[in-house]
């Protein structure tokens, strides 16, 4: 446990320790210090500094946890986080300003505003695949909104977890911001506590546990889950560009171990062989003839996940369908980029989120059928479509429900901070990034100001017919009606 000044001896983090931690943070939060703009900015800057000054250590940690290529780390973990911080530093003052809203004649005379305020003490539970970004991006959002935060990084990426604990202890104001390292026991202890918000990134199974625990304390949750994000490929397009964009979103993102990576492709029967050919060529351009040796691909995170992916690949229903790749190295936990053609819908690989370097292709007679295929499953976190057909594009946007939709590319919508990032249905609830992160950790308080003047007697009993008529006119907002009622004409 980082940030605890209880001594050098490492104690078990149990429910008692968790309760003590939350109590301590709650007391600190009560001081009101986190509400000031200055505190928020100082902490955002400190976190940014922690990351910038320790970029090499971050790269090393990810190499150790996932063999993640340094470029991927620098771009997706460090770069995106830096971006988030810069947006906050630039916009925060503006976000914190209460929003004036109009009031209607029925509450006249009055003024009203919506005042953003911090929720209190929040818990962020993050994931192992982007251990830095998925930890610090919500944390910095929570800080920007003026909350006290406890971060629980994933134990499955141990080097990153311990680095986060170290950096936050060293750089951050520990009376408000802490890290608790650990696995199931520690998480359970944390989830027993009362939080003002829980932000969880991970899978649906644990998401359900988190939400059930939150229900006991009526705590709102954000669940960032995954799902099978489809890629629809139409035949009338530049296949080379499409293939490269699919590759960069699938294997170029932690070797497919990302919540928004393309999970499977839907294309027409005619187009499928062409697409496979282009994918083969382009994959070789990117990762060479022996991808198991490529430095530009992450490895599989753990032997559990390696076994899970092997099982998907060994399923009788798909074993003959490998069109490219399929090589594995169990010792090094490496799996090569693998493309499977014409995979049946009832195969194991189509029954769960793949979260790895396997990419099945499903074929349909007409590309429009892809909409039904997608809608027959649960709502994915992202849906991608490559097409030049304007009508189909609009049909797709209208009829496919997903956290986000991207036309003619993959993953890029993630980097646009003006778009909310989050799921719908099975892929989760709540959204973040940019201003949406601030909003996710903010309570919007409705504030109404009235003066003592201008009090209409119609509000008060004893009730009369005139009062009722006037009220009807007021509700309808009709000036004529009001005058008529006042003069007793109606």
């Amino acid at each position: 446990m980082a940030g605890a000044e209880s001594g050098s001896q490492k104690k078990v983090f149990d429910a008692e320790a968790a309760s003590f931690l939350v109590k301590e943070l709650r007391e600190s939060f009560g001081s009101g210090r986190t509400r000031s703009y200055e505190w928020r900015v100082s902490q955002v800057k400190a976190l940014l500094k922690a990351v910038v000054e320790n970029e090499d250590q971050i790269v090393d940690a990810l190499r150790s946890d996932l063999a993640k290529p340094p470029l991927e780390t620098v771009v997706y973990e460090v770069g995106m986080f830096k971006n988030s911080c810069e947006v906050i530093l630039k916009e925060l003052k503006h976000w914190m300003v209460p929003e004036k809203v109009k009031t209607s004649i029925s509450t006249f005379p009055s003024s009203a505003e919506i005042v953003p305020e911090p929720l209190g003490v929040v818990l962020v539970i993050s994931a192992w695949n982007y251990p830095i970004l998925l930890s610090l991006d919500p944390v910095v959002g929570a800080i920007a909104a003026g909350n006290a935060v406890v971060l629980k990084p994933s134990e499955i990426a141990p080097a990153s977890s311990s680095l986060l604990a170290k950096l936050i202890e060293k750089y951050m104001d520990n009376s408000f911001i802490r890290v608790v390292e650990g696995a199931v026991d520690e998480t359970t202890a944390l989830l027993q506590q009362k939080w003002d918000k829980i932000f969880y990134t991970g899978n649906g199974k644990v998401g359900r546990i988190v939400m059930t625990a939150a229900a006991k304390h009526l705590t709102p949750v954000v669940l960032e889950l995954g799902g099978k994000s489809p890629v629809v490929v139409d035949s009338n397009i530049n296949l080379k560009v499409a293939a490269r964009r699919i590759i960069s979103g699938k294997w170029g993102l932690n070797n497919g171990q990302a919540c928004i990576s393309p999970d499977y492709i839907i294309t027409t029967k005619d187009c499928a062989p062409k697409l496979v050919d282009v994918l083969k060529t382009e994959l070789e351009n990117c990762y060479g003839k022996n991808p198991l040796e490529s430095e530009d691909l992450s490895r599989i995170v753990s032997s559990n996940h390696f076994a899970r992916l092997s099982k998907l690949l060994n399923d009788d229903k798909v074993s003959g369908k490998i069109a490219y790749g399929g090589e594995k190295d169990e010792k090094k936990l490496r799996i090569a980029p693998t493309v499977l053609l014409d995979v049946p819908q009832d195969s194991l690989i189509m029954g769960e989120e793949i979260f790895g370097p396997l990419l099945p292709i499903i074929t349909v007679n007409k590309v429009e059928e892809s909409i039904d295929v997608i809608n027959s499953g649960s709502k994915p976190l992202a849906a991608y479509i490559f097409t030049n057909n304007k009508k189909f594009k609009e049909q797709f946007v209208k009829n496919v429900s997903a956290g986000g939709l991207l036309v003619n590319d993959t993953v890029l919508h993630l980097v646009v901070h003006t778009l909310p990032f989050g799921g719908v249905g099975e892929s989760g609830m709540g959204a973040y990034h940019g201003k949406f992160s601030f909003d996710a950790f903010t309570h919007k308080k409705a504030v109404l100001y009235r003066s003592f003047a201008g009090d209409a007697s119609l509000r008060y009993p004893p009730y009369t017919d005139t009062k009722l008529r006037l009220m009807k006119a007021l509700i309808g907002g009709s000036i004529i009606g009001i005058i008529r009622a006042l003069f007793g004409w109606s």
Partner: protein, 490 residues
């Protein structure tokens, strides 16, 4: 009415199928349903008012003001604004964007469940229903069995005004509620108690269903020692009508207790005495302007509050109870013990404790030492105190110099924080609550930067970095080889 699981599941399946047809997404369908609701309210006003009289003893004017009228207002707004709400909202993109356009497209969630409450059986059922249909959802509404006439009017008459393939009203008690909660929904909107709120959220967690919980809490009203007699009188009147004139205090935003300076309390009590008489007459029970207690159980709960000896001693106004008619006279208590039940539980009835403080500023601490309330009311002209309340306390809403009125201000979000729930509705917020704001981004096949794709090199890293920072000059320099990186890739 007996309902089997099979029948329910069959019904819901057909509603889901209907949703799948896309009909409810059309603006024309949404408009027609809003129109149907409007017709129901207008044509059935008499019956609505009669049902409210029967179940709760609400006066015609009160029924109009709090339910019929506010619903008309909301329907007017929704009808008028529907097209605007439904329009996609463009998201700003950075100048160097790789994307050609990005927007937020609101789309319906699917099939939603609304569980409403007995105290405002029409308002709390139809207000969320308006949001749900405006957003294009299919809906199941379960009114509360504790206001049976209203529930039955909603179940038998309302459906004749609406598209029954998409909107169902299911009557019943806790067993039916439980049956409904076992089903999978795309959103659950619940109004009621925290105890049931926890049950609802736990059930929702099984299906990862997002929930909105509209709960209650002890809403304080602090009354400053106002110096002008006009102000004092207006404050007293507004407090009385908000407490006793809105379902006899059986409202989630009703004033629960008053905070006042010791020296001012007797002044306030005598003012209230005078105005209670003016509003409700010598014999409030005969005036028929105050609603009755909903049922025997609730009556006994309130009676028990008042039988605690120390609480009984604190009665300064009223106190009479008529068990046969379920009527409790407007009752004011002065300084009941803080550890009594009436000061630890939500009162939800026509009993108003006044708690005296040495200084009115102490109210900030008093409020903060208790769970966050749904609303805080403050009758004060002191700007310093106003500012302190604004920034140092937390509540769903904060209203200066009035009470309850925030309910009808549809530019303000209505909803709780902490123990009083989460999620916001009214006006546009209702529409947003029942919508998923889908991030949609589009790209063309033109510009594709070669540095997006592996194999990774130092130059690609630099390029990605500068393009993330939107540094045009940097891009040029890197391409020309004029800028060196401090990094290495090994």
């Amino acid at each position: 009415m007996e309902r089997s699981v099979e029948a329910l599941e069959r019904d819901l399946k057909s509603v889901r199928k209907y949703y799948g047809s896309g009909k409810t997404k059309d603006a024309s369908w949404r408009e027609s349903q809003l129109k149907g609701l409007q017709n129901f309210i207008v044509e059935r006003e008499e019956e609505i008012v009669r049902a409210l009289k029967h179940d709760l003893g609400k006066h015609y004017v009160e029924a109009f003001r709090d339910e019929v009228g506010t619903l008309m207002k909301t329907l007017n707004l929704a009808t008028k604004s529907l097209k605007k709400w439904m329009a996609a909202k463009e998201a700003k993109l950075p100048q160097i964007a790789l994307l050609s356009s990005a927007e937020l497209v609101p789309e319906p969630l699917g099939l939603v469940l609304i569980i409403s409450s007995w105290n405002f059986p029409f308002g709390l059922s139809l207000e969320p229903l308006i949001g749900a249909v405006a957003a294009g959802n299919t809906v199941v509404l379960k009114p509360s069995e504790m206001s049976p006439s209203c529930s039955s009017l909603l179940a038998t008459v309302l459906p004749t005004y609406l598209d029954n393939k998409a909107i169902k009203v299911i009557e019943g008690g806790p067993e039916v509620g439980e049956l409904l909660l076992q089903q999978k929904w795309d959103k659950i909107f619940f109004t009621g108690s925290a105890r049931v709120g926890r049950i609802v959220m736990s059930a929702a967690a099984v299906h990862l269903t997002p929930v909105t919980l509209e709960l209650g809490g002890k809403c304080p009203a602090l009354v400053d020692s106002l110096s002008f007699s006009w102000d004092r009188e207006v404050a007293a009147k507004r407090i009385l009508v908000a407490k006793f004139g809105a379902c006899a205090g059986q409202a989630c935003i009703a004033i629960d207790y008053i905070l006042v300076e010791k020296g001012f309390s007797s002044n306030l009590v005598s003012l209230m005495k005078v105005w209670i008489k003016k509003m409700f007459g010598e014999n409030p029970k005969e005036s028929n302007t105050i609603a009755r207690i909903v049922n025997k159980k609730q009556f006994m709960r309130l009676k028990n509050f008042l039988t605690e000896p120390k609480v009984k001693e604190s009665v300064v106004v009223g106190g009479s109870m008529h068990e046969n008619d379920l009527f409790i006279e407007p009752t004011i208590l002065l300084d009941p013990p803080l550890d009594s039940e009436i000061m630890s539980e939500e009162i939800f009835g026509p009993v108003l404790p006044i708690i005296t403080l040495d200084k009115i500023e102490d109210s900030v601490e008093f409020i903060n030492s208790r769970p966050k309330p749904l609303a805080i009311y403050a009758f004060t002209k002191n700007q310093t105190l106003q500012r302190r309340l604004l920034s140092e306390t937390s509540s769903g809403s904060l209203v200066f110099n009035d009470a309850i009125l925030q309910y009808i201000a549809d530019t303000l979000p209505f909803g709780g924080v902490g123990e009083c729930g989460f999620g916001k509705y009214h006006g546009k917020f209702s529409f947003d609550l029942f919508s998923h704001h889908k991030a949609v981004a589009r790209r063309s096949y033109f510009t594709d930067f070669w540095f997006r794709f592996p194999p990774w090199t130092l130059q690609k890293l630099q390029l990605l970095e500068v393009s993330y920072n939107l540094d045009y000059l940097g891009i040029l320099l890197v391409i020309l080889g004029l800028k060196r990186s401090k990094r290495s890739l090994s």
